[in-house]
Symmetry: C2
């Protein structure tokens, strides 16, 4: 097949001609900027409505030195359990961008460094960028800072100079663990993912907060981090069973599904002999039995807010340097409270 283009020529000059006004006037009617009589504006507006004329955003951008694009940097190699997060937040971002006549360019990055991001910045194709789910050592953030490109981290960063918006994993985890503690169980195991991700460290802090709040000393041996493979989760579970914990908090739903399998094999009853709770109320656990008590975050809302903040920042509006969104504790059969 061979491509046959069509061009729809109509420009701002055409409508100016048709209406016997200047391009300036048409431009002003559309943008709403600059003095113009109500009558003229209406005349222009109804004409472009009727002819379905849409000004060329690219040309507009060139004149204004804007692109009306933002970049979204997402990991090209995340695992299944994290995909819904990206999917949902992406959705929110695109929606909010659209509402502001912005579009979203995709930059998947594998490994630490992103040449694609650099190329996009060098080519000046975006006005700002959204980084997602940061690593403890985030070279992309460093690069953008260096280049003075407006960006916001959808997630948490240690660097207070970085704009960030995140779900409140810490408070959520604290609330969850607090509920378990209050139900009379003090030996609570935690199985965590890779500490390379800031989010896993943040969740851990919530766990600690909960113990501090009730004044019970926390047993470091019950907190097993860096479980990034099935084998590690299995052995962590076995260790916690031997340590006679009354509950296990899983830092993600993948960890949780493995824990449930191990317990099933050992014929350990959930929740009677062992209570289980998880982070992220994902489809991965949708059909687990018993149904798992879990934290829930509104990823889509996170995307919307992140995009909103970036767009405001780009426009020179003052924004909060760090925003935290809420959480929801969804209580199901895997716990006794």
């Amino acid at each position: 097949m061979v491509c046959r283009m069509k061009d729809s020529k109509i420009t701002i000059a055409d409508v100016a001609d048709a209406l016997h006004v200047s391009k300036t006037t048409v431009s002003r009617a559309i943008s709403g900027k600059g003095r113009i009589s109500d009558e003229t504006r209406q005349r222009v507006l109804s004409y472009i409505e009727a002819t379905d004329f849409k000004p060329n955003v690219i040309a507009k951008g060139l004149a204004q030195k804007k692109t009306y694009n933002i970049a979204l940097v997402i990991p090209g190699d995340c695992n299944l359990v994290d995909m819904p997060f990206f999917q949902n937040s992406m959705q929110g971002i695109c929606e909010e961008a659209s509402a502001n006549d912005y579009d979203v360019m995709l930059v998947p990055v594998t490994g630490r460094h992103s040449e694609n991001l650099e190329r996009m910045i060098a080519n000046k194709k975006v006005d700002g960028v959204i980084l997602s789910r940061s690593l403890v050592k985030d070279t992309n953030a460093a690069f953008l800072k260096e280049e003075k490109i407006p960006f916001v981290m959808m997630g948490t960063s240690r660097d207070a100079k970085i704009l960030q918006v995140d779900n409140n994993h810490r408070a959520g985890c604290c609330a969850l663990v607090g509920r378990i503690l209050n139900s009379g169980i003090a030996r609570i195991g935690l199985i965590g993912g890779s500490k390379n991700y800031v989010v896993n460290r943040t969740r851990k802090q919530g766990y600690e907060d909960a113990f501090l709040a009730v004044g019970i000393e926390q047993n470091a041996a019950l907190c097993i981090e860096n479980c990034d493979s099935v084998e590690k989760v299995v052995s962590a579970t076995e260790k916690l069973v031997r340590a006679d914990v009354g509950a296990i908090v899983c830092m993600d739903d993948f960890v949780c599904s493995v824990v449930l399998q191990v317990l099933a094999e050992k014929k350990i009853q959930v929740p009677q002999q062992m209570q289980i709770a998880s982070f992220y109320d994902s489809t991965l656990l949708k059909h687990a039995k018993p149904a798992v008590t879990s934290l829930w975050f509104d990823d889509r809302a996170l995307g919307v807010l992140t995009c909103k903040i970036l767009l405001q920042y780009i426009q020179g509006i003052k924004v909060e340097s760090k925003t935290l969104l809420g959480y929801e504790l969804v209580i199901r059969e895997s716990t006794l409270f």
Copy 2:
């Protein structure tokens, strides 16, 4: 926080001045188009190399009436099992786009109709679009055809006028079912997903092909389609067990995981009493026991090729109207061949 922009001013005019040549010459040296002496070209090239000058792609695009962007339309509401497909193919698309100095704009669509796609087209922000995993009734394809926007379907469409590139699900399924038939089992159940997706219909055709090839008459009752919920998959599995099939082919890995659960509960041994095979070798089944025999497709390569074809088509190069990529049959413990 308040945004402080930087502008890196340097333009083609600056380098022209610095080198005492015209903008035309600089432009020609960069693009490689138009007559220019080797010496001049080298002089320009080494200067822009040294100063790290990158021409503004947006301005270039405006002058050439191109955007150097393509849109990628993906479902905003796909289920977990399909996410790796989108993740991987997206990766391939971005990679190939990058290699051609193109960028990828994200258009998540929910429901049938996409206002975001229409807006993007109206705003002339892309040179072409990639549609993914088509529905039987694809309004976006119809819209793009109408608008005469170059696009290619990453997947299969009934409409031969639509450029398409897909993994060969049909041949893959045929090979898989053929292997089972050859192993002496004629009663083979099929549990399929929603018939709204072209891909599920294509797979079904492969199943039929296999029976035709060996001349065994196929029993329509063993072919249960439209199983888009756990309940339906469960009841389909039970029905097939009652029908005494020797093998079940699952049309996706979610279906397969449910089938395995049901069989485990019924204490039916896999593969001794029932052979199982699945489509898509996904992480969802990574830890299934027994390990599941499955088809594997190179999603990333699919993305690369799809993007390549779109880009060629945009450039007016003649392309194949339909391309099919291969498959791999990964044989594991859940089958006896």
